[in-house]
Subunit: 253 residues, 2 copies
């Protein structure tokens, strides 16, 4: 049997949010590659080989996957959420482009998943109900000047913002700087939500405002959602409020 | 048994991309509400009631769902893709906020799904591998001036753009106007992909450039992806090229 690569999204964590196609690709693989935290979600069958690595070694992991597939192995590269959203898919294609031409004849497919952003939004209500964007706050990948310009642009344009990699150990102050930039543009009362590890036992939701948002509540597993000035709360007795962004924009906006 | 509402995402179309939680919410419901095209994907069991409606009656559909739940019915409101992305979730919360206070005590949950955007991205490669945004091109919901400002902002800031509702029967010229705005900012060679009905029998993928993108190829089922200047093609013999957006941004970008 010839080799293949499936770049698989395991979803936010709950088994009920893992798509059948993703489960099947994992089950059919001979080799599983990924960050150890995600591989820990998978129960290995007899004979399946686990290649765990550190979270920062994405390109090495991608090369390893392609190289194993070229040897005839059936390789599942696993990510949490959707593999195309600040996860492994882009690294795999980067490695493919830079690698031997023979790799381009490999059978490579991406299997989509439910992203952390959509799981968080579902838990909160419908905060992404209007135009929205997803921005990675990691400044390993781009300089702060680019990050700052993007934050200003999208907040000014009225998009809801989902921040990935909002808290890095190497640069713990970045999220505070991002909030400060956004506070120059958006009202202090703008809804901000911290959605940690949604759909897992470690889930924690905090709903606050831009003026009061405390970056120290955010860790590596937390997605940060920042509403627009129009994003609303629906208060309920005995339950967390729902957060939603209206579909309609007035002409004056 | 008391009533509930589940706002459910059916995913892009293929059964293998439907999350188990969504299938279960549909199976447990007494009443299914949605646009007929999405309801057609669901096989009804004995006793389940189908409430099909036109695609534009979102708020009436949302009120109907909440009203039925208040009568003790178990209501699944179904959307394609993810229900929080230009679909029914926002309408349900809009109806909830405007409705009787008693509705706020209802058991309401959103069940996320794999969006059309992620299914399209997976088929193409990893076009959303960098910061990205999702914008609905419908000017039923916002004036053209807002749309144009948003397109200019996100293209200038270097985000990949996913356009939903890119072709409406009422305003077939909007997509051409959007391309013209983007062409003032992005190089003519910027990768554009049309991804129609991904994961269904009607799937069709067209990869082109901003300079050559033909809006007449786009219909109501087509998602339009517009890369950044850095988005790349990986050419393959005998197969469509892969499209991916690099994770890294240079300081000069």
């Amino acid at each position: 049997m010839s080799g293949w690569v499936r770049v698989v999204g395991l979803g936010p964590g709950a088994a009920g949010l893992l798509a059948p196609d993703a489960a099947q690709a994992v089950a059919a693989s001979s080799d599983l590659i990924g960050y150890a935290t995600y591989l820990d979600r998978v129960t290995l069958s007899e004979g399946q080989i686990r290649h765990a690595s550190d979270n920062r070694e994405e390109l090495a992991r991608a090369r390893n996957a392609l190289s194993l597939a070229a040897e005839g192995r059936r390789v599942a590269v696993v990510s949490g959420g959707d593999p195309g959203v600040f996860a492994m898919a882009s690294a795999v294609f980067e490695a493919l482009e830079a690698g031997p031409l023979a790799w381009r004849r490999l059978d490579i497919e991406v299997v989509p998943g439910i992203s952390a952003m959509f799981a968080a939004a579902a838990r909160l209500g419908a905060p992404l109900g209007a135009d929205f964007c997803a921005i990675s706050l990691s400044d390993n990948l781009k300089p702060w000047s680019v990050l700052e310009a993007r934050l200003r642009a999208v907040a000014t344009a009225g998009l809801v913002i989902a921040l990935y990699n909002a808290r890095s150990q190497a640069r713990p102050d970045l999220l505070g700087r991002a909030f400060a930039v956004l506070a120059e543009i958006l009202p202090g009362g703008t809804v901000v939500a911290f959605a940690r590890a949604v759909s897992t036992e470690a889930e924690r939701i905090d709903i606050t405002t831009l003026a009061e948002a405390d970056p120290s509540l955010v860790d590596m597993r937390t997605l940060v959602l920042i509403g627009t000035a129009a994003t609303r709360l629906i208060v309920r007795e005995g339950a967390a409020p729902f957060v939603y962004s209206p579909r309609f924009v007035e002409a004056s906006a």
